[in-house]
């Protein structure tokens, strides 16, 4: 075989993994790889700060179901990836992060732009590699994509010293035989446990399915709908599980958690059986739930055995892939009449209605709850809404209806501000020629964390609509300050400088709109939607509107 430069080999290996886009930022330790890009079919997207690169990869991965790839140079480039990698880890999103590293003989000498990135990211990578020899690259890259995308997905990091990229390799890019001794995720559910689950489901009077992000990751949405409908079991989701069950289905029973629907928490607390499918039972999700005593049966389906029993005791643990297990359960006769329970839920829903009202001065400007409800009615069935973190995230989660083929992405686990612009752009890159609407929702706090990425959106004329909720405040922290210390006890949550976002949009040649009332929003939104190319919709919300 003709020797191949390792930098070219790396890109070849990525092509073999069906990588289309690499979201990256160059630097000294990546010079050989960037030189190789010149003769590669891979599309390199130059992000404007490495911090956003993993979010692009994450949005791309969530939208496409493929592994997202990001790239950064050694030292500060690599450490800038850290938050994004942790974000992907907490939400179990499959990404591969590639970093340049200083030459092998300089490792450990505190060389210029040297950082121990495998060490720094160890707590929140599924696995990582420091490539010591170029000949190992095909094996490592193959394994990295395999580990990132199978079992419980997650980020994998490959750290490649500059001189490794410059070696010549004779063994080619072929490496098919994946054999990792310590990695063999269980995907098929244990038949004994499934039998026990069936018995519990049959005997339950007030069962609830609690669906998490695992349902989406295992592509088990159809199976979940069939299973819920066949057994007439209501479905509640976590924040990460939004979209796992269509909200227009009569069995849909909301979102649980500290920022979920009140009625969903009440329903969950009255259940006698909870069937948890791919949800972590994090402290945010269980915030308003009572302690599950012995009178409640708890079935936990998860591909990661360590999640089962981690925070809540489980009667029936089933380790495996949600799609497989739901298919197994579908074959069984578990149907039971739950009409009484469903009626009870309808009553709970009536007793805990959503509150849309706002009094002056809040009602003088846009009511964000009404905004997202109306946006729901304006958008197509093929919409992806990428929310940031904060009030914008909760308003859009609760009041935008994720029906039919709609998707909702957010940084659920780590709660990383600045996620939505790059992740939304990543989702758009994944659907570039497809009939899909992509919305980015952020507040003026989160917007300013990633607004440099408008450059990427403008450069590629990405067809995204950015809904910018402007209240000149860091709203959710302000809400917490109000709840914790009392009204007026605000500290560090004012964004005092009044940015002229219309002019900013002009600088990036974005089509910009501004609305001060819901009526104005309803007028301009269809125009923004009809516009091909990026738009910025500036929505003025009163600073004291802090209720969800």
């Amino acid at each position: 075989m003709i020797p191949l430069l390792a930098s070219k080999l790396i890109l070849k290996c990525l092509e073999k993994e069906n990588v289309e886009y690499v979201f990256g930022y160059p630097g000294g330790a990546l010079l050989p790889i960037y030189e190789a890009f010149r003769s590669s079919n891979l599309k390199h997207i130059l992000v404007r700060n490495e911090q956003t690169a993993p979010h692009y990869a994450s949005g791309y991965a969530r939208e496409s179901g493929k592994v997202g790839v990001c790239l950064a140079t050694s030292g500060p480039g690599a450490t800038n990836l850290v938050t994004g990698i942790a974000t992907a880890y907490l939400d179990s999103i499959p990404i591969v992060a590639i970093t340049g590293q200083v030459n092998r003989d300089l490792i450990g000498t505190d060389a210029f732009q040297e950082a121990d990135i495998t060490g720094a990211t160890a707590p929140f990578t599924k696995h990582s590699y420091l490539v010591k020899e170029a000949k190992d690259l095909p094996k490592i890259i193959k394994e990295a994509f395999h580990i990132a995308s199978t079992g419980r997905p997650g980020p994998v990091l490959i750290d490649i010293p500059r001189d490794v990229q410059l070696e010549n390799v004779k063994n080619g890019s072929d490496y098919e035989d994946i054999h990792i001794l310590g990695y063999n995720p269980t995907t098929k559910g244990h038949t004994g446990q499934i039998k026990r689950a069936i018995k519990k489901i049959k005997n339950a009077d007030r069962p609830v399915i609690y669906a998490g992000g695992g349902v989406l990751l295992s592509n088990a949405r159809e199976e979940l709908i069939k299973f819920a409908e066949k057994n007439s079991i209501p479905v509640i989701t976590s924040l990460m599980g939004i979209g796992a069950f269509p909200e227009d289905n009569p069995l849909y029973s909301g979102i649980v958690g500290s920022h979920g629907y009140e009625y969903s928490n009440v329903v969950m607390n009255q259940a006698d059986l909870i069937i948890n499918i791919g949800a972590r039972m994090s402290n945010r999700a269980t915030f308003k739930l009572k302690d599950f005593g012995e009178e409640i049966d708890f079935i936990h389906i998860d591909i990661d055995p360590a999640e089962i029993g981690k925070t809540i005791e489980t009667n029936v643990p089933i380790v495996g892939d949600a799609k497989n297990i739901l298919s197994d359960l579908l074959e069984q006769d578990t149907a039971n009449d739950h009409q009484k329970w469903l009626d009870q839920i309808a009553q709970i829903k009536m007793d805990n209605p959503l509150v849309y009202d706002a009094a002056p001065p809040c009602s003088d400007l846009i009511n964000p709850k009404v905004l997202f409800r109306s946006l729901s009615e304006m958008t197509s069935d093929n919409t992806t809404l990428v929310a940031d973190v904060g009030l914008n995230q909760i308003w859009s989660a609760l009041y935008y209806h994720v029906n039919k083929n709609r998707k909702y992405f957010t940084s659920g686990g780590l709660g990383t501000m600045g996620y939505s612009i790059p992740a939304g752009a990543g989702a758009r890159f994944a659907t570039i020629n497809q009939d899909r609407q992509v919305f980015i929702v952020c507040g003026d706090g989160s917007f300013q964390m990633s607004m440099g990425e408008l450059g990427v959106i403008a450069e590629h004329q990405l067809d995204v609509n950015i809904i910018l909720i402007v209240n000149h405040k860091l709203g959710m922290v302000r809400q917490l300050q109000c709840d914790t210390y009392g009204k007026g006890h605000y500290s560090g949550t004012d964004i005092n400088y009044d940015i002229d976002f219309m002019t900013l949009a002009k600088a990036y040649s974005l089509e910009a709109f501004e609305a001060k009332t819901n009526e104005e929003f309803n007028e301009i939104a269809p125009k923004a939607l009809a516009h091909k190319g990026p738009t910025l919709i500036i929505c003025q919300v009163h600073p004291d509107f802090i209720r969800i």
Binding site: Y129, L181, P305
Partner: protein, 165 residues
């Protein structure tokens, strides 16, 4: 209820494997009582023995979290009833012409060895279970222990059972 448990791991000898394992204990707030590492018949695989203290739920989580590490091939618990565990200890004890013989006699009873002799000290070497070593310490302590090192438990399952991969 908290208890001491001995875990035996086979791991792939990859870059950073030990730091992954110790890091896992640190960030999840588990305490390591002791940790020993050594080679195996396969140069690419190492064997690690870890003793930990925790309640049942914590121990289960530790095992599961260890298993999640890609480099960890297998994890088992070395239960006292079907495994053997030993620890190696060196003790430097004050000794002079008046008591050296007595100390050597104690060593003989425990099948400990004297591995270094000086005018004012002895270095003793003992291998055994935790109970035996505690008893030995108890006997040696009155003579004045200058310093000591305990290797931490290491062990194997009894019988023909082997950790395979």
């Amino acid at each position: 209820m908290e208890k001491k448990t001995c875990l035996s791991l086979l791991v792939e000898n990859n870059f950073g494997v030990l730091s992954r394992i110790s890091g896992l204990f640190a960030r999840r707030g588990y305490n390591i009582d002791s940790l020993t590492v050594g080679t195996t018949e396969n140069a690419e695989v190492s064997r690690i023995t870890i003793t930990v203290t925790g309640d049942e739920q914590i121990l289960t989580q530790i095992k599961k979290q260890l298993n999640k590490l890609i480099d960890v091939i297998t994890v088992i618990e070395l239960k006292p009833e079907d495994s053997i565990t030993r620890e190696l200890v060196f003790i430097k004890v004050k000794a002079d012409d008046t008591n050296r013989t007595q100390i050597v006699q104690i060593c003989n009873m425990f099948r400990a060895n004297v591995v270094d002799v000086a005018r004012e000290s002895l270095v003793l070497e003992i291998t055994g279970t935790r109970d035996k070593i505690d008893a030995f310490f108890n006997m040696i302590e009155p003579y004045g222990i200058l310093e000591f090192i305990r290797s931490g438990d290491t062990g194997l399952q009894r019988g023909a059972n082997v950790l395979s991969y």
